[in-house]
């Protein structure tokens, strides 16, 4: 039996794990390397050939980045994505924290029913909502505008954000609320002075969640913003590039990497909160 354990924790185990990790990371490494190679090199040899002389810096270039950011307009798309994502993250979290607080600590008729409806809404496919909303947006002149997509992402993000914040806020010890009520604090004072500061870890997770969700979204942007370069975010622009620059891998990879820098660094820096958010019960896709 001891032998079995040692086989499992021995070399084969390490080999299996390292192979899996390599398979998982190789495609991204290929992307990163290719984005720094000249178009002539990319057309004639695979990205792995640079590994023979990894420190021969003459075979790397920043030309692709200059090309996609300035000439192809990925820089503008990056800016658009920021302008979409920041309000579309802050607004729903603000609205959801009020609602989650009320669901967790206030009593009102229909509370349970409303919350069950909310849980059901978690998985309603967005496709069910798009045509009617688009029609209303067209009437109101919101289609193709940033405020339109801010509202759309707010509506779509609310169920999950309320659900996650509710799970956290309802878990706060009730003695805290009792003693504050006795001291004569109003619900809003309790919310501001107690609930928000204590919920910071949960707020951090939902912020990362919503930020990544909006940053990486393609469908909602395609439907409500469309492809005009004035407003199109990175995902929409890059998926259009895949069609028009299909074989120019050095440009496609550079554009793709520009779109990943921010979410990847956020993810690597704040992975802890991201994982917590997922574990707190995520059912949204």
């Amino acid at each position: 039996m001891k032998k079995l354990i040692s086989i499992f924790s021995g070399i084969p185990l390490h080999l299996v794990i390292i192979t899996i990790a390599l398979i998982w990371i190789l495609p991204s490494v290929g992307l990163l390397i290719t984005s720094f190679r000249s178009s002539a090199d990319v057309a004639t040899s695979g990205w792995w050939t640079v590994l023979q002389h990894p420190f021969n810096f003459t075979c790397y270039t920043l030309e692709n980045y200059r090309e996609v950011i300035i000439r192809i307009g990925i820089g503008k798309a990056f800016w658009n994505t920021l302008l979409i994502t920041i309000p579309a993250t802050i607004i729903p979290i603000l609205i959801a924290s009020f609602a989650a607080y009320a669901f967790a600590w206030m009593d009102f008729p229909g509370r349970r029913l409303l919350f069950v409806i909310l849980v059901g809404l978690l998985v309603v496919p967005l496709q069910m909502t798009m045509i009617p909303i688009l029609r209303v947006f067209n009437k109101l002149g919101l289609a193709g505008t940033f405020p339109g997509i801010w509202f759309a992402h707010t509506g779509y993000g609310l169920p999950l954000i309320i659900y996650l914040l509710y799970n956290f806020i309802s878990g706060l010890p009730s003695e805290l609320f009792d003693s504050c009520s006795i001291d004569g604090a109003t619900p809003f004072q309790i919310f501001k002075k107690l609930v928000i500061p204590l919920s910071l870890p949960a707020l951090a997770s939902v912020t990362i969640f919503q930020f990544l969700w909006v940053w990486n979204d393609l469908l909602v942007a395609l439907v409500y913003l469309g492809g005009t370069p004035d407003v199109a975010p990175l995902t929409v622009r890059i998926s259009a590039l895949v069609g028009s620059y299909g074989q120019d891998w050095e440009l496609l990879t550079a554009a793709a990497f520009v779109s990943m820098i921010l979410p990847l660094s956020l993810f690597l820096g704040l992975q802890r909160y991201f994982v917590k958010g997922i574990l707190a019960g995520s059912v949204k896709g």
Partner: protein, 289 residues
Amino acid sequence: MRTKKITPWLYITPAAFLLFFFLVYPSINTVYISFFNYNSEKFVGIKNYLYCFSNEIMLNSFRNNTLWVVLFVPLTVSLGLIIAVLVDRVKYESIVKSIIFMPMAISFVGAGVIWKFVYAYRPASAAQTGILNALRSFFQLEPLPWLIIRPWLNNFCLIIVGVWIWTGFCMVILSASYKGIPRELLEAARVDGATEFKIFWKIILPLMKPTIAVVATTMTINVLKVFDIVYVMTNGNFNTEVIANRMYKEMFIFRNYGRASAIAVILLVLIIPMIIINIQRFREQEAIR
């Protein structure tokens, strides 16, 4: 907590209003317009639904979505579980987990570009720059146009991309659940002479069953709605069409709102069992509280 009668509504109303406007009302409206013609002016009964269940491309999409469910869900869940259990035994666990989890931070569009490059194909005479075809030529095999060979290989190649993205998600949840199993239990089994294999099947798996069920339902919902990967990599060409991409095309390319709505309703009907499971699970959790 004691509050005035009106107070809770002040907190709830903004959220309730937005949820109603963006999710509840449009969903009901979509069901309604699915019984009308392309511009919602003429009532056509179930004609749009008949179209969905007779049109060849739609039937193709149903087949492909089924293929996604059948392959993607078991692959992500089992790989996530295996990796979670394996990396628990090594010191560099957190690095490996970060690597597997990282695709979750990337957009599906970005992942589409990454994998289109992995599958890149050029005629046998040219140097292969896609890593898969380069491997094939290394072994003296003909390069393959992975995303064009229909219908099984290209669909399978797309599913692999989905697995690459979502396995990390499954792994994180399953790993937390695995670490929740008391170590003494596993030790006791080892002392009693159970093999590692037996421990996995007879102790770990049954204990993790509820979590596995949660992860599997989440993955099923995701995969029924799969859109971005297909849109970016093949746009549904070469028999890789899926329901969500078809809905997008009916809506934006053919401008047929009746058909697009019918497709959306079918998608919802496929997901409704998952909604019911979700609500039941929520009720059970509430009962425990």
